[in-house]
């Protein structure tokens, strides 16, 4: 499973975090506590949980209505802000679900500065998960 340390090595990484599907912030690392603190990251985690749920609903509905494929399940949601972006992935949880597991691992996310952000590297890092035992 990708570690917070590995996510913090992404270009422009400012914070890396884990959160439950209900949005509660779990383990996290913050590179610049003067710019991003625990309470901000906690609210952001709740927003990311909501965004993943809504995007999943939209992708599901879109595929069923249009018959276009390749949008569901959502692998990652990215919010692009003015100077920062936050990328969260739910792919690892999807793999657990497909294996019939009921206890799902947390979501993982990373906050990056837009100037240095490499979204494809973030997707790849977040999806670098160990096989389900």
């Amino acid at each position: 499973m990708v570690t917070l340390d590995a996510l913090m090595r992404l270009p422009g990484a400012m914070a890396a975090f884990e959160f439950r599907g209900s949005g509660e912030l779990l383990e996290h690392q913050i590179a610049y506590p003067d710019r991003l603190n625990d309470s901000t990251l906690d609210l952001l985690a709740h927003m990311c949980a909501a965004n993943m749920s809504i995007a999943t609903m939209q992708a599901r509905g879109w595929e069923q209505i249009t018959a276009m494929k390749g949008f569901y399940p959502v692998r990652a949601f990215t919010l692009v802000g003015f100077d920062w972006s936050v990328v969260v992935s739910g792919l690892h949880r999807e793999q657990y679900k497909q294996d019939g597991k009921y206890s799902l691992p947390p979501f993982m996310g990373v906050v990056m500065s837009n100037e240095n952000a490499d979204y494809e590297a973030a997707f790849a890092a977040l999806e670098n998960q160990e096989p389900i035992s």
């Binding site: 710019r35 901000t40 939209q58 390749g70 959502v74």
Partner: protein, 118 residues
């Protein structure tokens, strides 16, 4: 050329469009039908409004954070990605396009787009 035309000329972009924040207009090009483009515009507008609300809430909690104002969002799927900046959306075939390039192009082109959502 419009940004929609520019987007469609980029590798991997299969459809692109624009929508009015007030919800009464949209335009599109690419592989979508009129009805599907209308639905895509509604979905994109709703999510854009939502992420802007989130950016505002974060700003209220901690002023001058880098997520406010929100500029857009990206949903990365198994083989297709939806990328939205301001009131412009595009759909990308992951195998043929670069999400980094598209996000960079849209952010750069829409740098001066209004953040007032009107």
């Amino acid at each position: 050329m419009s940004i929609v035309t520019d987007l469609l000329a980029r590798p991997g972009v299969i459809a692109a469009g624009e929508y009015a924040y007030r919800g009464d207009r949209f335009s599109y090009r690419g592989v979508l039908t009129e009805e599907h483009a209308r639905m895509a515009s509604i979905i994109c507008r709703a999510t854009t409004m939502s992420v802007n609300m989130e950016g505002g809430m974060l700003e209220a909690l901690r002023p001058r954070n880098g997520l406010h104002p929100a500029r857009g969002w990206v949903v990365y799927g198994p083989s297709h990605t939806v990328c939205v900046m301001a009131n412009v959306f595009c759909m990308i075939d992951n195998a043929k396009g670069s999400i980094n390039d598209i996000v960079r192009f849209m952010r750069g082109t829409l740098t001066h787009a209004s953040t007032h959502l009107i």
